[in-house]
Symmetry: C2
Subunit: 165 residues, 2 copies
Amino acid sequence: MMLDAETKALEEPSAHEAEVRLWLRLLTCANLIEGEIRSKLRERFDITLPRFDLMAQLDRAPEGMTLSDVSRRMMVSNGNVTHIVDKLLASGDLDRRTAEHDRRVQVISLTSKGRAEFRAMAAEHADWLARLFAGLGETDINDLMRLLAKAKASVRAGLAEETAR
Amino acid sequence: MMLDAETKALEEPSAHEAEVRLWLRLLTCANLIEGEIRSKLRERFDITLPRFDLMAQLDRAPEGMTLSDVSRRMMVSNGNVTHIVDKLLASGDLDRRTAEHDRRVQVISLTSKGRAEFRAMAAEHADWLARLFAGLGETDINDLMRLLAKAKASVRAGLAEETAR
DNA sequence: GCAAATTATTTTAGGGTTCAAATATCCTCC
DNA sequence: GGAGGATATTTGAACCCTAAAATAATTTGC
């Protein structure tokens, strides 16, 4: 018996149920943690998560990064990076200069003030995560790392398949 | 030798590194999937993810839900729910009525139009997820479900510990 | 019965986010 | 050496989001 897509959906409401439930569980975990990190960052350091993330990227790039690099690494839009950078420039945590070889390119880097602030925040940040994951053993963490890597690869493959089509 | 917290952080920059890396990997996975779902929802149905999520909650509650229920279930703020509901009311996907037993309470539910639209969207939504997770076997999915449940419990315990303190 | 505390919702202020359009600069190739 | 295409960034419009204050209605304790 052949069914069109709509009829089939009505008759098989649980199709791909496992995948949907996996996604919802993954999302719930991420949202719980993200909410806690956001509220801790605000409460302890009066900073937002995106600004913290941007400083984390720059901490690993002593020479600085271009805005496009940041945008790719953080997986956020270019316009968004411009906005976050503006705020961190205003608070004196970042330096910005135009690249000499290409005047379209803006290179940003941490000021020494920004670097010192970031290091202090990063240490606490790691402590918060350790507390949240305290219920997981070393084996659990390793297994999760492996399975999430596999999931990430699967997702990227699915995305690539689509753009190729 | 005793060290204060700051000195210790400087001398042990890799403390809790495993937990931080687990968090970053979890977040990357979630962001990749969420970005794809958002862009598909926009492209195929011109709807945002929060509106889709609200409709999903209501689809499982034929009698309707109060705004506070929705806020708790979706883990978003009350003010945000008000905003999203306004939009879905305007597009005719939701009904809203004041509860007779308590005039503070607003009960919202899907209109038949909203329900039909949601069912069509949900079927495709499940297909997108199945495609993204196509690289995972049944065992992988089961393992991930179990480990993420454990992680979720750990995070909730960590949060509870803090509020108790 | 009524003042005070509680509860449900809305409003407000301040961010963050995307996409698409606009600018500015560079590069290529004739 | 200049036109056309590519690349880096900014701007603008429309959302989403939260926390905190304000509003409205109910419940509680006396």
